[in-house]
């Protein structure tokens, strides 16, 4: 099944204008929409996956869906499949999965007002000895680089219960960059897969 840039796959129907498309500020990928995995296409979750051809073997995958906590499992599936297809070693996969889980959970929980539907887009790309992850949403501006570091040494009585997600992202990845572009949050996470971590 081939879809063009203005079509979406939605639970068995190809839609010209999905309900959430007007909220989407697409990044031009130059890619093609393809049936990357049936895993992502077998229910009513509007989403699309993009496999961007790079010579013989794809080196970049993208996934876009509504930012909702009910879609986190699908995103997790996409991340696992992509890292596997990119040939990322197990010791790095775990770190990257944790960082992406934390980032997408933040978007699903806090980026958009309650009852407002907005998108989240994840791209995963391998560039030589680095894995570049980009997470984009058009929700409320949030720069995780400015997020305070939690006190992880406090006793159980004094322990605050929040703020651990961004801390985990920082520690699990080698680089973290944030840009606010065209009213969209764009978080870039980089893992050096030849390095010491």
């Amino acid at each position: 099944m081939a879809l063009d840039e203005r079509q979406e796959y939605n639970g068995g129907n190809i839609c010209e204008k999905p309900i959430w498309q007007s909220r989407v500020n697409y990044i031009e990928t130059g890619g093609i929409i393809c049936n990357y995995s049936n895993t992502f296409m077998n229910n009513n979750i509007p989403c699309r996956t993009t496999e961007i051809p790079d010579k013989a073997k794809p080196a970049k995958f993208a996934f876009e869906t509504i930012a909702d906590t009910g879609h986190l499992e699908k995103i997790a599936d996409f991340v696992e499949h992509s890292l596997n297809d990119l040939g990322i070693q197990e010791k790095y996969r775990g770190h990257i999965c944790v960082a992406i889980d934390e980032a997408v959970t933040n978007v699903a929980l806090y980026a958009y007002p309650k009852n407002a539907k907005g998108y989240i887009r994840i791209t995963i790309e391998r560039i030589k000895d680095r894995v570049l992850v980009e997470i984009t949403d058009s929700g409320i501006a949030f720069n995780p680089l400015h997020h305070p570091v939690p006190d992880v040494t406090a006793s159980i009585e004094k322990r605050l219960i929040g703020g651990l997600g961004v801390h985990l992202m920082r520690k699990m990845m080698d680089e973290m960059h944030y840009r606010r572009i065209n009213n969209a949050n764009c978080l870039s996470l980089v893992k050096h897969i030849g390095g010491p971590k």
């Binding site: 009910g70 997790a76 775990g94 944790v98 889980d101 959970t105 406090a154 159980i156 219960i161 651990l164």
Partner: protein, 119 residues
């Protein structure tokens, strides 16, 4: 609708062992359920709890909140919570967030019971 956290509970040598069955703990709605159930066990008189994470491959930090809240409850009630069978990445997450200083972590259930269980 999200399924609740799947648990299996057993009591051995005076220790309540909570086997978490879910492979992924990433949906935030589930963390409230986990918090409620762990705190209910402590409220119900459990003094020694071992959480077996052997089946869990991925966990989000929203579930660390559940553990911290259960830990606070256990602290109030003079109970203790420990963990076993963490994957290397989850163990690393515990270390990064300081949970390893709040809770004892054991390599296996057997080693945990050797220390926590009644002899």
């Amino acid at each position: 609708m999200t399924d609740p956290v799947q648990f299996m509970e057993e009591n051995r040598q005076g220790v309540t062992i909570v086997h978490i069955v879910n492979q992924r703990l990433i949906e935030p709605q589930l963390s409230d359920d986990l918090t409620r159930r762990l705190c209910a066990l402590i409220e119900g008189g459990t003094l020694s709890m071992l959480i077996d994470m052997g089946a869990v491959a991925r966990i989000s930090s929203v579930f660390f909140r559940s553990f911290i809240m259960a830990g606070k409850k256990a602290n109030e009630k003079k109970a203790r919570i420990a963990f076993c069978n963490l994957t290397p990445v989850i163990k690393e997450g515990f270390v990064i967030t300081g949970l390893d200083k709040l809770f004892k972590i054991y390599e296996s259930e057997g080693k945990a019971l050797g220390e926590l269980g009644e002899r």
